[in-house]
Every structure is written in C-alpha cells, then in structure tokens.
Amino acid sequence: MSARYGMVIDLDRCTGCGACMVACAAENNVPPLPARATDRTGLTPMLVHKVNNGLEGAGRREAFIPIACMHCANETPCVSVCPQQAVEVDKATGIVMQIPQRCLGCRYCMTACPYHARYFNWWDPSWPPGMEKTLNPGVATRMRGVVEKCNLCHARLHTAMEKAAAEGKKEIEMTDYIPACVEACPTNAIQFGDLANPDDPASQAAHSPETFRLLARLGTEPKIYYKSRQPWVRALAERSASGHATEGQHV
C-alpha cells in the first residue's frame, strides 16, 4: 500500500470563515498563545490568506487562499535541510512529517519552505486552568523551541489504521480518514483523497486541467492543488511575474 494523500481546494468556494483554521488547531492541540503573538509568531498549521485583485472601487474583489503544508513530493525543500532527520516524507502515505521530539529548533526548514507553512513554538504551550482536559487524545502537545506544521491529521490516520487492524483489514477506509479542515469546511471547498488512486474523486479532480499549484515552477510537486475560475486568482496563485502582491494583508 503506497498512498499519496493530497487535497484540491476550490478557492471560489472559500468564504474565508476560518472554520478550517479553528478545527485544525483544536484537532492538533495547538495552544492559545500570549496576546503578544502575531500573524508572524503564531501557530497556524492551516492559515487562510486574504488577497485581492489590486483594483479599487466596484471592480475590487477579494479572495481567500488557505495554506497548509503542501507536502511537496519532489526534492521536498524542508526534508533535505534538516540536520537530524526530524523531517521525512512518509513512504506509505507521502505525508511530509515533522517530529517535534527530534527537532532541535534550528529553523533551517522554515527558511527552506517557500510557502511559510512551518511554524516555530516561540512559547511553551499553556492553556487556561482546566482546559487541558479538552486536549485531543492521540496528538501529543509540543514543547517550546521546536518546529511544527500540518501533518494531514495523522492522528486520524492512526485511528483509521487501528480500526482497520482490529477488523482484520490491511487497508484503511478513506471514510475513516478525513483531516479536520476538510471536515470543517462549510462549503466543501476542500476535497481530500489519495492522489495515487485513479478512482479517487479527489485524484481525478487534482489531475483535471483547471487545477494549479502554488509556485509550481519551483518543481517541488506540491500535493495541495487549487482551482478557481477567476483569472486574477489563478494569476496570483501561480505567481505570474506581474504579481498582484497585496498591500496591507499583514495589517
């Protein structure tokens, strides 16, 4: 069994509600950080970027681009740089995984990632008294000084694997393994599946012509695909040299 899990995100369907971010944080025991935390020191394994077409007045439009780890399949930038094998591409699933317990916090992988999808624990995690009772079993909390990122809710994969094993199956049911953000999206903008399986709807969607990937020309073969019918969104995401960089998007 050698799956290649990936996503197809329909940007036209994204209303930027942020449900995916909250669901992701809750699933992965991301702590609420001190008030000093900003959009540059926070922990947002799933982060929705707000972008616009650069026009003013009635012609102006905004769109939202959810960005998690792209799980690059080729020359994965973060894997080759890690000095102590805290990052690796899982052979069985294609998931790019970050092991906080191995990480020494040198942050080299963060400089290597063109999508800024990796986050450093600048603070020790802490919760208001009693709230630690609500932590999700199956996901270990991280300590300060290590890097973390989206790992496609592998805790849910573990649960699915255990279920399969208990039922004497070798393969998991895809219905048992749905990442939190996919489950949370109120417009079903995110399709998740095994891109290596031609019968998987997500795989078919991913390989259809209207999808694209961020910074595809870097050749890292991301496994998160996007689609949009709006040319300006495509232009943005594909980073045509004209680059409608949005000012004031880190207000």
Binding site: D90, G138, N151
Partner: protein
C-alpha cells in the same frame, strides 16, 4: 613515576566503580504497586488464563490496558480471602470508588503511538513477546522510574549498558526499530509517533 600511575589508576577505578555500580542505583527511584497483584494466582483462580480476559480490546479496536475497578469488583465485591493486599484493594479503592493508581511498567510517553490491535491482531504477536512472563508469574515487581527522564526502567531495559539483555527487556525506540527491521516492516516516524 609509579606513584603517578598509581594516582591516575586510583582515579580511574573510582570512576569506573561510581559509574557502573553506584550510578544505576542512584538514577532510578523505586515505588511499590498500590496493591500486590499476583497474575499467576488470578489466572488460576479466575479460570481465564488468557490475557484478554481482563485486558480486552475496546469496540473501536483500541486496547483497554489495565482493567478498571469494576473488572476487579466483578469478583472482589467483598473480601474473598485474608490477604492484606486484597483488603487494601477492597477497602481503599473498590469501596471508595477511587481508581487504583496502578503503575504501568511499559508506559510509553505521550508522543508515542502504539497500537495493540496492529501488533496483536494484524501481526499476531503474543503478549509475552513484549511483556515477558509478567502474566504467568506471581513476582511482586518494583516499579523503577528514571529520575531524569521520568520513564519506567522497563523502557531502557534493566541492563544499564543495554548489552546482553533478555529478549523482551527494553522498549526504547531502537528496540521497536530492531523488531520491525527483523520482520522487514518499514514504518516511518509517524508509524509510531504522534
């Protein structure tokens, strides 16, 4: 000159003794189980010799681990014998309804995902393959805890040098890796980490 060698040698020997003999004794703290539990006797008296009589799998495939009080209460509604251990169990825990604070010899840290279902049901390992004779002996084992790492001594194994170990002595990451390697099973980091 000899005198110098002697001085050096004394230091050396001192270090070796301290390191090999004293250190392991200092490193681990010793605790008694809240209640002495003779596995062998229970297996005999209760009539179910197989482990899953008291350590079953949950419906969702997860492993129940150490039984809850109600499992004990099934037989020990009241004292059956005269052993002080049983008296303690019944009076202090079963009657008061406080969960017995068993010490788990093979407890792995939170960042480890170990699925009994995968190892027992799919790979078909026997309990004793990892837990040894635990279930078939009445030995009252001490629970030894590493003062620095907080792990049970069973994780590192009882030989401080980890040389010449019993087959199921030690449950460190490299032990898992060795076993997987022997069986040609390839799991990445996330095979066992969470």
């Amino acid at each position: 000159m000899n005198r110098h060698v002697l001085a050096f040698a004394i230091g050396l020997v001192f270090a070796l003794v301290a390191g090999w003999v004293v250190f392991p004794r200092v490193l681990y703290s010793h605790q008694q189980q809240p209640v002495d539990f003779p596995h062998k006797t229970h297996a005999a008296k209760s009539g179910n010799a197989d482990c899953d009589g008291c350590h079953p799998f949950n419906s969702d495939g997860s492993f129940a681990g150490i039984p809850k009080n109600d499992t004990c209460a099934a037989c020990h509604t009241d004292k059956l014998g005269t052993s002080p251990a049983e008296a303690k169990l019944v009076d202090d825990y079963l009657k008061t309804g406080t969960t017995t604070p068993w010490l788990v010899y093979s407890r792995q840290p939170a960042n480890v995902w170990f699925s009994h279902a995968v190892h027992v049901k799919r790979a078909g390992l026997a309990c004793a393959d990892c837990h040894g004779a635990l279930g078939t002996s009445d030995e009252k084992r001490l629970y030894e805890q590493d003062r620095i790492s907080g792990y049970s001594r069973d994780i590192w194994g009882h030989s401080i040098s980890r040389l010449r170990r019993a087959p199921h002595d030690g449950r460190t990451m490299s032990d898992c890796e060795d076993c997987h390697h022997k069986r040609h099973i390839e799991v990445g980091c996330f095979g066992c980490h969470q």
